[in-house]
Symmetry: D2
Subunit: 293 residues, 4 copies
Amino acid sequence: MAHYGFLGTGIMGGAMAANLLRAGHSLAVCNRTPDKLEPLLALGAIPCASPAEVVAASAITFSMVADPEAALEVALGAGGVIEATGPGHDYIEMSTIDDVTSRKIGAEVVATGARFLEAPVSGTKKPAEDGELIIMAAGDPGLFEDAEPAFDAMGKLAVHLGEVGTGARMKLVINSIMAGVMVAQSEGFALAEKCGLDLPSLLELLDAGVVSSPLLRAKGPQLMARQYPTSFPLKHMQKDLRLTLALADQVGQPLDNTATVNQTFIRARVAGLGDQDFSAVHEVVSKDERPCA
Amino acid sequence: MAHYGFLGTGIMGGAMAANLLRAGHSLAVCNRTPDKLEPLLALGAIPCASPAEVVAASAITFSMVADPEAALEVALGAGGVIEATGPGHDYIEMSTIDDVTSRKIGAEVVATGARFLEAPVSGTKKPAEDGELIIMAAGDPGLFEDAEPAFDAMGKLAVHLGEVGTGARMKLVINSIMAGVMVAQSEGFALAEKCGLDLPSLLELLDAGVVSSPLLRAKGPQLMARQYPTSFPLKHMQKDLRLTLALADQVGQPLDNTATVNQTFIRARVAGLGDQDFSAVHEVVSKDERPCA
Amino acid sequence: MAHYGFLGTGIMGGAMAANLLRAGHSLAVCNRTPDKLEPLLALGAIPCASPAEVVAASAITFSMVADPEAALEVALGAGGVIEATGPGHDYIEMSTIDDVTSRKIGAEVVATGARFLEAPVSGTKKPAEDGELIIMAAGDPGLFEDAEPAFDAMGKLAVHLGEVGTGARMKLVINSIMAGVMVAQSEGFALAEKCGLDLPSLLELLDAGVVSSPLLRAKGPQLMARQYPTSFPLKHMQKDLRLTLALADQVGQPLDNTATVNQTFIRARVAGLGDQDFSAVHEVVSKDERPCA
Amino acid sequence: MAHYGFLGTGIMGGAMAANLLRAGHSLAVCNRTPDKLEPLLALGAIPCASPAEVVAASAITFSMVADPEAALEVALGAGGVIEATGPGHDYIEMSTIDDVTSRKIGAEVVATGARFLEAPVSGTKKPAEDGELIIMAAGDPGLFEDAEPAFDAMGKLAVHLGEVGTGARMKLVINSIMAGVMVAQSEGFALAEKCGLDLPSLLELLDAGVVSSPLLRAKGPQLMARQYPTSFPLKHMQKDLRLTLALADQVGQPLDNTATVNQTFIRARVAGLGDQDFSAVHEVVSKDERPCA
């Protein structure tokens, strides 16, 4: 039996699966378009005909698909994961999905006698390729321990947070902080430019000070160049802000600042920047308003 | 003649002057309360009777006093700097003062034939002691070059930004970004706590990710402990936000987010947190609202 | 056959049904707790055993129940409206319910051959008693015409807005404006008080000027007395703001101000003011912050 | 001796002076450009050569000039008011000026033995012509009583608020409420339009409800027509918001909503709408964001 199975071999999932193979793990995979499996097969992956076959062939199967709908289809659709999970055939959902979908899949999997983790990640294409993802796991603690060799191959940090749902919530908190930091930087750069200050000096001074961060070093030059190559699409960040504010409303935490940040991201999305990187919010923060007709 | 003079030997200035002496520079100093000079005299400083005497004894004199009023008194009051500045006796104002005061002092100094720089710093007590300040200089470029040995002893980065006034404006931009990042972190921690998420895990995950920064590592534990030992007083940060928003209004840059952040800092100041560290803004962001009477 | 039927005879519905009877219309009613029908029976209402019986006995039946769940139960539950709707037995849903619920009920009713209107109202207990409600109807235009005698008895203005869903959306827009006006007044009164200005003079001056409104005259004295007798509960207003912002996000309209207003209402709800009038938002806007422990 | 004197005969002042004359009061006037006095002379005004001559000829002199600089020049410049004030020659400053300027003029006037009032007004050209201004007086209460016949001719309501400064502050509070109401309406209309709701129906429903106000009836049609004929220039409203927020900061009143409203007005000002009516804020609230280049 293969040690691991992997479902979803797109940009993120393909890179993660490759890292599992490179670390020496045997890996079962499948894809509706078999051509897409070739890079993984070249690394030694074992092809299967369906998600259920992958699960049947694996002790632990990971899923990394595009959205909640795809996650539901892979897990609960025809030929899906649920047809093969059970004792000894566990499931770890790493896709970014909402709380409700995660619990639904988890409950179905657990009902078959298998163990379940949700394990959304922080990090985009580059960290996925470099095995530098940050993994926010929640659910069965024993499965978390058993999956550690796989998490080691895919990420630089994996934390077990509690029961199913806490991983998704933690990811929202982290992304909303990222959005707030991004807008704080953007407003600073916009003001500096309007004041005639030298932007490279601003970046140098910031990077020497307490707000220096990988985000500053990655996005600062983008703000100056007004080029925003997509790492994390702006529309996805705005969706996460929406979910964060809904969560905060539900638990009774006012978030004045995050609510304002969300409106700025909505303005950017409406301006057609949704598919660019979330740093493109700078276009609406900094743009010279034109006289209205 | 002493190479350098130093005026203002409080917490910040005292540490900066000591670093000049430790770097082997001769240094003239004065203080109305001579006892306060003892630590510097022990390092070899030369005592003078007035700011004017310090300037007369020095090629370049630095000032690091508490506020614009003190800066004006030291520079333009009786026995002040202006009585001795002139060719070969230049002046560098490192105190955090507003644009107008800086230009006023600069104009008077330059009228005597001396050169002038404003050079506000970023960093508090610890960086001052460690010679790790960030120095934002503006004004005479030749004086900036001549002062580099002194800046090397006091800071880890010194940048020349342009004409007098750009240093003060750059400092506002940097501090307003710092405030925005602080509130973004604070709202994230507050939401995480309300959701029952584990805060040490949040900090660990953030620190492994793109928003990791010295500010996160310094303030994150303070947010969890709800202890805010003062490094940069909250009321001073709110003052800087006020000045930043006034500057943005003047140059025509909307700052939705910074305006919201400022109101949050006002709320914190009104709640009696003005003398605590600016991270104490977390108290008003996160507090459980009590039923109103 | 009775001209009209009425389902839901609580504070609002009871007053509306009474106005139909007082206007001379015959009216079929029902209630699980028959005692509650007595005031209406005294006015000549005809008692029935179930919603379905009311509909069977009536050309047009109106519903005014507490929430979407109650609306679904009354319409689609056992003994519900849907068992009797059909040609000549039309249905008008006046409860405040969301878009999705409204469409669902509408589709089921229309499938039986009956006509359907959603007709949420603006106005609370007093306008309901006085027949002064504002009625935002949407759906079948012929039914709107046929129902005009009833709307005349219950309201002072009834408008037909378009297809099902536009009534609910219009109500959200109107309530969000009301919330924004309320907070603008509240912040003004709070600032005036902090400045030592005379509040009765403020109210007099406002009432003589362009922002004079029934809302100002109703709530201004409440702000001064810090008493907020419930007309429209704060928690319901905050729910409407949440729905408004979700709608705006969906259609791509940034609402910076309404987003801020919503956070203020969340703060008030969390402070335990949810069951007081929405004017109680003034407690969190104006309260003196106490020093944090 | 003329009963009254009037300084500043522009759009506002000219209309106010005419109302004093029409009410039968004798009135002394002056203007650097004598032609501009003709309409008033036709109504019987007495021409003078300088502000000082007007004051000398009058028991009470009113001033209604463009801004603080003009107010200072008229009051304290060569040939100014101060040269003739004294017992029996009192002065009422009705121009919209800041607190500091008002106190300065008041102190100088009072030092001559005359009485002083500040009396800023609410209302624009039309109310000025119709004698329907709202007058916020502050300062000497005896002078307020003596001036009542004049206030009756110029306004529909005159209130005495307290010591000098309270008039200016009250006006800021009222204008900031007006700005908040305007933006609340604007966001509602913008959302309604994006949702495909019928705007005339929205206006009709609002006008039948609790937020009906003269402002709604005046500006609602402007929002629909996207035409904003200037009654109160947007840039002046934004200036008042700036002063309001500075006052609130000083007295310790957080104003989350007003701070957001101010940023929206700054955005509108920067978009070139400063000279249009303040209702033109709707252009930036509602505009369709264009894809950024």
